[in-house]
Amino acid sequence: MAKLNINGKVHDVQAEDDTPLLWVIREQVGLTGTKYGCGVAQCGACSVHINGEIRRSCSIPLSAVKAGDRIVTIEGLSATGAHPVQKAWAELDVPQCGYCQSGQIMAAAALLKKNPRPSDTDIDEAMTNICRCGTYQRIRAAMHLAAETAGKSKA
């Protein structure tokens, strides 16, 4: 039995120590917004925040997660779906099939938290998740839009 703090709620989970966090989140906790894409930390569909850092949950064993760690999944990014990244994604109609977008949004939100006005180069370096539909051009534009709107709301 392990205790996991996911989206502000503590869950008791029953899984072997080497179970990847992704499958604990999906199959034990039942949150399915975090996706399986490759299992080898290549595609980023499984991206979550751990203590504010972007992490690929398919390659983090349960034993590496501490009880005090704050895990945030796409379901917990904002209570109302009104995170600036989600709003910008909606505004520019970013998703196509949508399967990778949980991970893309989590990666974008993590970058913008650290770097509120990222350059194109910053985005190139941080956004390494795979989108097979090829929504990259809109992801980039939506990140700039999210940075702008978040900046304005703070000003």
């Binding site: 899984a15 595609c43 949980s102 090829g134």
Partner: protein, 740 residues
């Protein structure tokens, strides 16, 4: 005309109503039949297979008392935007107002029970809109006419005196208004007009269709709430992981179940079919790790001797074999080449490619003695239904398919439905237990129906003035139809492999006129399973034709755009799109030092495409694609915003294939297993894309696929312009480039 006072019809037993009205079903439109979406099993279906308290005016339109118009979408949504586009077409003819539109996906079982009232469900070949636009628009227009008639009857005025806007019906003479919600029940009882008698709106007057309206399916894709098939939960569900013989055509000999008996969560090891074994466990992670630990003995069979090298040799032999299928033979190309002032020759090749949908293959199945159900991402719900029926032995009417929004399709989830058969086989062996089968990424990449491999030899003859007088193109490669045992592949002939080279207008016409033209196909099949792949055949054939035409233009000392223009005078639509791309890209205008342009044009999937790529090659031979301009004439443009999205996506798809895409074969099996080896383009490599949509409003073309095929050749032609050396084999990662 019936008494319209029965507005309570929505509260009647719909089930009873269906029985009473069943005889009406059939033909193009089944009218007056509220559909029981609340039947057994349906409530657990995909979120979009929603229940609702509405009145079905006809098969395409259900209207709720609050004026919400539920539009039925028969085609699958896999990211390409067809759900939104079809809803726009229906809303346009219905005049219901876009804010009132919701959608739902009828199930294949429901369609079958109503004599396939929703028509074709298969979603591939960029046909989702272009082959159903006519009957869905007529269905919507029929519903509008019936709703107006119902209001006119109620007011006892001629129907010509009533009008509608945003679902509000008005009789201006008496200043009376009512709504679709209020008259729907009466409308459902009115005899439908003959669909053929309906005059559809002129697309130039569209207010909802033709506009860049936002997608309907975005919200659930932003917060993790959309339930893909891989996310399905069923009471008592178990999960399965699967392994097929690594060598195609090999067999499963044995496995040692005892070795994994004590592992956590493991319930059973199941032989799925002659070549496949699965482990069933309480969670997928338990099933997957137990399967990895399961000792399995395969009979790999004779195909284990096959490799990329043996396959390439077979294809190469086809390039010069004495016998080949002459797909087009006009004039006398060999003789004209013989007598030409200048001869150009080149050999090209393209590899096998996997689809790599981000959501791996999966299917949840539940099978009992008298019922079989699957929850599945499918491009072809009816093929899934048929596969389920065949695998379980249950008749079609005892089977049902719940179609979930797909996490990518790209042709992988079309006719084959292999993963449905597998899930059904496992579930049949564990009656009553819902089984969720998920493929690992490794299984997904190595057991695909790959884009077929081919090579091409081009030979051209130029006269003394640099005019192209003869062109001989021979493609040697695998046939999808032959693999699928389709009668369309016969005696070494398969026209489908020649997509983009036909002289017939309409779908995939060659845009060039050459006085002496010979286009041949040498069918050379392999042991590797092949299938459709977003833009298949036009992708490979455009690389061959468009890179070769560029080589010929260079040999003639001509500008590649000018050289093409001279060949395209008889194909004004192709030419207009080439010109649109060249103009937007400012072809001919100087670029920054080190940046070079390449061009390509081609037709496929009913639409005309052209691209200009701006590329640089570093001193180390590294390619960077800076900017791409793509022009597309798809006839009618139902949603320009989504067309641009598809064009942008097609660049990523095409560039992935250009730079990285390759599935090598060794010892009869695929060696690239995951994204570390089978690389996919990432954001940092995405060029700036400008989409130019130039619709001519006189045909209906496809959108999801057509532009992919011009991506690779325009980039390769730009590389040739940069380095002075043509690139003739893909992917680029295997080609050593040196800047000139």
């Amino acid at each position: 005309m019936k008494n319209p006072e029965v507005s309570k019809v929505t509260n009647l037993s719909r089930r009873k109503f269906i029985v009473g009205s069943a005889a009406v079903a059939g033909g193009g439109l089944a009218l007056g039949i509220p559909l029981a979406f609340d039947g057994a099993g349906a409530a657990a279906a995909a979120a979009k297979n929603a229940t609702g308290t509405g009145t079905e005016v006809n098969a395409w339109v259900v209207i709720r008392p609050d004026n919400i118009c539920v539009v039925r979408i028969a085609r699958s949504e896999m990211g390409q935007g067809t759900e939104t586009g079809l809803a726009q077409l229906v809303a346009e003819e219905l005049d219901c107002g876009w804010a009132h539109v919701k959608t739902e996906f009828p199930t294949p079982g429901q369609s079958l029970a109503r004599k396939r009232v929703w028509g074709e469900m298969g979603t591939g070949g960029s046909r989702g809109i272009r082959t159903s636009e006519d009957y869905v628009r007529r269905g919507a227009a029929a519903a509008r006419l019936m709703l107006l008639q119902a209001a006119a009857d109620q007011w006892k005025v001629p129907v010509a005196e009533v009008s509608v806007s945003d679902g509000v019906i008005t009789h201006s003479a008496s200043k009376r208004t009512t709504t679709y919600g209020k008259v729907a029940a009466a409308a459902a009882k009115i005899s439908p007009p003959d669909p053929k008698s309906i005059t559809l709106k002129n697309p130039k007057e569209w207010k909802i269709a033709g506009k860049p309206i936002k997608r309907l399916d975005t919200p659930g894709k932003l917060n993790g709430s959309l339930v893909y098939a891989i996310d399905v939960k069923q009471p008592g569900m178990l999960c399965a992981a699967i392994k097929d013989c690594p060598v195609f055509g090999g067999k499963l000999t044995s496995y040692d179940e005892a070795k994994i008996a004590g592992r956590p969560g493991v319930r059973r090891v199941v032989k799925v079919n002659d070549s496949t074994v699965a482990v069933v466990a309480d969670t997928w992670w338990h099933a997957k790790t137990a399967l990895d630990a399961l000792p399995i003995v395969w009979d790999e069979g004779p195909n284990a001797a096959q490799s990329s090298v043996t396959i390439a040799e077979r294809l190469k032999e086809g390039l010069t074999a004495t016998s080949a299928y002459a797909f087009r033979n006009e004039g006398d190309a060999p003789k004209a080449i013989e007598g030409a002032a200048k001869k150009v020759e080149a050999v090209y090749s393209t590899p096998f490619l996997a689809h790599s949908t981000m959501e791996p293959m999966n299917c949840t199945a539940k099978v009992t003695a008298d019922r079989a159900e699957v929850w599945v991402p499918t491009q072809n719900g009816e093929a899934a239904l048929a596969a389920l029926s065949e695998e379980t032995g249950l008749p079609l009417e005892k089977c049902e398919v719940y179609k979930h929004v797909l996490g990518g399709g790209f042709g992988r989830r079309g006719g084959a439905q292999d993963y449905v058969r597998q899930a059904a086989s496992i579930a049949k062996q564990m009656p009553g237990v819902p089984i969720k089968l998920i493929w690992s990424r490794e299984e997904d990449t190595t057991h695909d129906f790959f884009r077929p491999i081919s090579q091409c030899r081009g030979v051209a003859g130029l006269d003394a003035d640099g005019n192209l007088v003869a062109l001989h193109v021979r493609v040697s490669g695998q046939s999808i139809n032959a693999f699928q045992n389709s009668p369309q592949a016969k005696d070494g002939k398969d026209d489908r492999q020649m997509q983009g080279y036909t002289d017939k207008p309409g779908d995939a016409q060659l845009g060039y006129t050459v006085p002496n033209l010979l286009i041949e196909y040498a069918m050379r099949n392999t042991h590797v399973p092949v299938g459709p792949w977003r833009g298949v055949n036009t992708n490979q054939n455009a690389v061959y034709m468009e890179c070769f035409i560029d080589e010929v233009a260079r040999a003639a000392g001509a500008d590649p755009v000018e050289f093409r223009r001279k060949l395209m005078v008889n194909h004004p639509k192709h030419l207009a799109v080439l010109n649109a791309a060249a103009e937007k890209a400012e072809w001919g205008k100087p670029l920054p030092p080190g940046v070079h342009r390449g061009v390509a044009q081609f037709m496929g999937y009913g639409s005309y495409s052209a691209a200009v790529a701006e590329v640089s090659v570093s001193n180390e031979g590294k390619v960077k694609v800076h900017r791409m301009v793509l022009a597309l004439n798809c006839g009618h443009a139902v949603n320009p915003g989504q067309i641009a999205a598809q064009v942008e996506g097609s660049v990523a798809f095409g560039l992935t294939a250009t730079l990285y895409g390759e599935c090598p074969v060794e010892n009869g099996r695929m060696t690239s297993k995951n994204f570390d080896a089978y690389e996919i383009l990432r954001l940092g490599e995405m060029p700036k894309i400008e989409t130019v949509i130039v619709p001519t409003y006189d045909f209906w073309g496809g959108v999801g696929e057509p532009t992919i095929c011009v991506v690779a050749p325009s980039v390769l032609n730009a590389i040739a312009a940069a380095t002075g050396k043509p690139v003739r084999s893909l992917p680029l990662k295997n080609v050593k480039l040196l800047n000139a």
